[in-house]
Assembly symmetry: C2
Homo-oligomer: 227 residues x 2
Amino acid sequence: VIRTEGLTRSFSMGTTTVQALRGIDLTIQRGEYVAIMGPSGSGKSTLMNLIGCLDTPTEGEYHLNGTAVAQLAEHELARIRNKEIGFVFQSFNLLARATALRNVELPLIYGGVAPRERRERAAEALREVDLIDRMDHRPNELSGGQRQRVSIARALVTKPALLLADEPTGNLDSKTSYEIMGLFQRLHEAGNTIIVVTHEREIADHARRIVTIRDGLVANDERNIVP
Amino acid sequence: VIRTEGLTRSFSMGTTTVQALRGIDLTIQRGEYVAIMGPSGSGKSTLMNLIGCLDTPTEGEYHLNGTAVAQLAEHELARIRNKEIGFVFQSFNLLARATALRNVELPLIYGGVAPRERRERAAEALREVDLIDRMDHRPNELSGGQRQRVSIARALVTKPALLLADEPTGNLDSKTSYEIMGLFQRLHEAGNTIIVVTHEREIADHARRIVTIRDGLVANDERNIVP
Ligand SMILES: Nc1ncnc2c1ncn2[C@@H]1O[C@H](COP(=O)(O)OP(=O)(O)OP(=O)(O)O)[C@@H](O)[C@H]1O
Ligand SMILES: Nc1ncnc2c1ncn2[C@@H]1O[C@H](COP(=O)(O)OP(=O)(O)OP(=O)(O)O)[C@@H](O)[C@H]1O
Ligand SMILES: [Mg+2]
Ligand SMILES: [Mg+2]
């Protein structure tokens, strides 16, 4: 379960302060499928980075599975990020000097999985995003959408209990997007929690709940009847 | 006018070769508004980089305004890229250590515009993409869609005769996308040529012609009645 209270994140820049989040109260149960929408600059990625334990709030509380994240030691946070959370970054965040396969293997390397098993699982994840024939390409030898799909494969390779996907289809054509949403659906049906940031309504419509962020606040939070 | 004949681009990777473009014949008249669509990995960005004189083909010919680009000296290519072409990159390509304002000023610095005028024109371009209040932020202090809009402002600041925009709205919500398409429309109405790569039909529908690329070839090329 994800529970935030009064979650605030400010960035101080010299003389001015940018308030990216101004007090977010949000509860997401285990196994939910939530879409987060809102205008460019409204605070969606900032919220995802806090939920994913990649950043700390300026004020407010964040409880993950009943534990206050602020109280957790760094090694415990690292364990949660590696074993329980899969993160698809809006800017992909791939290692420039590693092949597609190596990038997908990374979470398994951190998790201490044996080399042979991790290569097989990484290859399988690349097969699922239809990129097995690009496994030896480095990021600058891939198209924009292919880089995005490598980043998706990396997030899915650990079959995470919580998938956080920030604009996962921004660079993909409709057919490829549809295939990626099918992968998310399968992860969801296995009982995992999915949170997707998107600006595309067709993508949000796969979720059963749509949260709208505007100017750092929750503007709307409604159930979505999946068409 | 843009005219390509048998345009081919191959990437050799050790023992294998990836044929990104397999012979593209395309003619685009001055003042046209063309959308390029196609699956992820089909060759759209590779084609845009060739049209924008940022890359050279493996085979085939490319004539820009009646001149064979292959015959042009580097300083002449640099002049064309700076004065006549505006490029919105799929991965934004902003300078990490420069502010938003400075990034937008760059083409004007290369073009030898006086400091005061170039700052005013760059600020005006940022105002047009609704980012004047972020002009002092560096890229890592901006949201994904804000970085994209800085990259759009940089491409528009020279009021280019040819605008090449590669997935310009991938990270933008509908309202912001609509505003950006309004800016492109204005540039088009002033008689300039616009080529937009997109996977969103609503974006392609602003163009009067849609070219579909599939597996490195032109699969379809049709007039589009703007709704
Ligand atoms: N430097 C390179 N070395 C090897 N292969 C490359 C290189 N650049 C691109 N490719 C390959 O060429 C093909 C076309 O790439 P391109 O970037 O043009 O596709 P695209 O249509 O823009 O895709 P997307 O919609 O995902 O951005 C891809 O399959 C890609 O893997
Ligand atoms: N490191 C930072 N320093 C200063 N301001 C920042 C920083 N990171 C983000 N911001 C600002 O905080 C606000 C929220 O950013 P955020 O990335 O969360 O937006 P977003 O909703 O994900 O937008 P997009 O849809 O464009 O990706 C933006 O206005 C941005 O300029
Ligand atoms: Mg974002
Ligand atoms: Mg591309």
